[in-house]
Symmetry: C2
């Protein structure tokens, strides 16, 4: 059983697309998967066709905990047609930062809420907001691993270094068990020298931490999100489905051998 | 003289790339341009080759204002080789949200700091963080216009609608002069039906507000950022340079005729 945060300090890197489709690929392999949408944009929820904000969501349960009324994440679980469970986000997550700011143990709210659920799933993925905010810190404190998806370009590469500085602080001060699972290249085109160059730089700097599997650019991934589906439910023969299936295989090898 | 925020509630949409290269295109036309990096990621600063955080930056001056010591943005202005002025970001902008939270008039801090500078420039662009945070609200309160860059895909389209809900609240409660300048399609490929479809949906929904100019996908734009330059200093013949020059032309027509 592993809790994995999908995070990086750069927008549009493929966090949501990876949480959704890697989760779906593991579910295809018979694993029990829970996805948590911790981004106020609620893109993961929208990508699974959850258009209107349900009454119970990550915010509603966090808020109960903040008011000492005892939240219960199991109430917020939505079972999707594809067999993946998801805890939807809420636009109000944007204000929960201010509501948590003065609380004792504010970094442990998600970790405490997750405790009763961890044994029911093989993998729990948390789709993080793009900045290192109190919500992202909460997700990382609740996690065993963190995975960084990024396009092979200059600014996302900067986002890796920015993120890793925060990662070290969180490991030291808040969650010593947090491990870097690795970086995954997204929107990858091996004909683009910049993509190849960035991957090489990461392999040199973070020995053994860059996944061999790359996710190629594939418009079907965006079309599946528009249809409110994961790539396997939308088009199992697409490159995006092949790449995420391969990534799931590599992930299962990595998380068991750790 | 116009202050224009570049914002949208979606990561990786092309905000930084547009602030940088649209600003540079206007500077090429002889306009005096100031760019302000209001994102703690500091991507705009990095894209102009400002690697180490200068002593004076947007945070240092905001902090002085918070402590009632009187900030002075003109101290933080860096003159770049391309003739564009820039006020760099700082990683500490990530904590300024919490420092501002309890302050009277907290939404007007950037607006107050900008007042002494507005008459020195033809255009001031503010590169916003991707979420609607207190920093983004500050930028929008200080602005005459807002421009939304987005790739023609499902999730960024959702980000437009999410943003416009906040935009209306800000206009009503904080800054009645704020106008929507328009949406700009980025990473656009007219052969992709999804790109064309999203552009059409926006044109129907926001009559006359979608720029005719589209910014095509062009890896030179990312390479220029890696080199710490705007696209005109890096490769004036690239598609990215042509598209942003055309966008500058269209912007000058729009902002004068408004
Ligand atoms: N491999 C890919 N090929 C093509 N399009 C992709 C791929 N991965 C992601 N996308 C598209 O790129 C856009 C950004 O991806 P996504 O929303 O997953 O990134 P994110 O890191 O979650 O963004 P944010 O910072 O806003 O949370 C989306 O429109 C998505 O459909
Ligand atoms: N027209 C384009 N063609 C090719 N690449 C582009 C284009 N516009 C932007 N990019 C690249 O896409 C990535 C995201 O763009 P950018 O950083 O400008 O978006 P952003 O909205 O500022 O992101 P964030 O939400 O992280 O602030 C960058 O690596 C940039 O170089
Ligand atoms: Mg996302
Ligand atoms: Mg940016």
């Amino acid at each position: 059983m592993s809790v994995i945060s999908i995070a990086i300090q750069k927008g549009g890197s493929g966090k949501t697309t990876t949480a959704l489709n890697l989760g779906a690929a593991l579910s295809q392999e018979g694993k029990k998967v829970l996805l948590i949408d911790a981004d106020p944009q609620a893109n993961l929820s929208q990508s699974l066709g959850i258009e209107d904000e349900p009454q119970f969501n990550l915010y509603s349960e966090l808020k109960k905990d903040i008011l000492q009324e005892g939240g219960d994440l199991s109430k917020a679980i939505v079972h999707t047609a594809a067999g993946i469970d998801v805890i939807p986000a809420s636009i109000d997550l944007a204000i929960v930062e201010l509501e948590m700011a003065g609380l004792m143990g504010r970094e442990y709210l998600i970790s405490d809420l997750l405790k009763p659920l961890v044994d029911e799933y093989d993998y729990i993925f948390i789709d993080c907001p793009h900045a290192i905010s109190l919500l992202t810190v909460n997700a990382l404190v609740a996690s065993d691993y963190v995975m960084l998806p990024l396009p092979g370009e200059f600014l996302p590469l900067k986002g890796v270094y920015g993120f890793m500085r925060q990662f070290e602080i969180i490991r030291k001060k808040l969650n010593p068990r947090l491990e870097l699972l690795g970086m995954v290249m997204t929107k990858y085109d091996e004909r683009k020298s910049m993509n190849v160059g960035v991957k090489k730089q990461l392999e040199e700097k973070f020995d053994g931490k860059v996944f061999h599997t790359v996710i190629r650019t594939n418009i079907q991934l965006a079309k599946a999100q528009e249809a409110g589906k994961d790539i396997f439910s939308y088009d199992r023969s697409a490159n995006g489905a092949k790449d995420y299936r391969q990534l799931a295989g590599e992930l299962m090898e990595r998380s068991y051998s750790e």
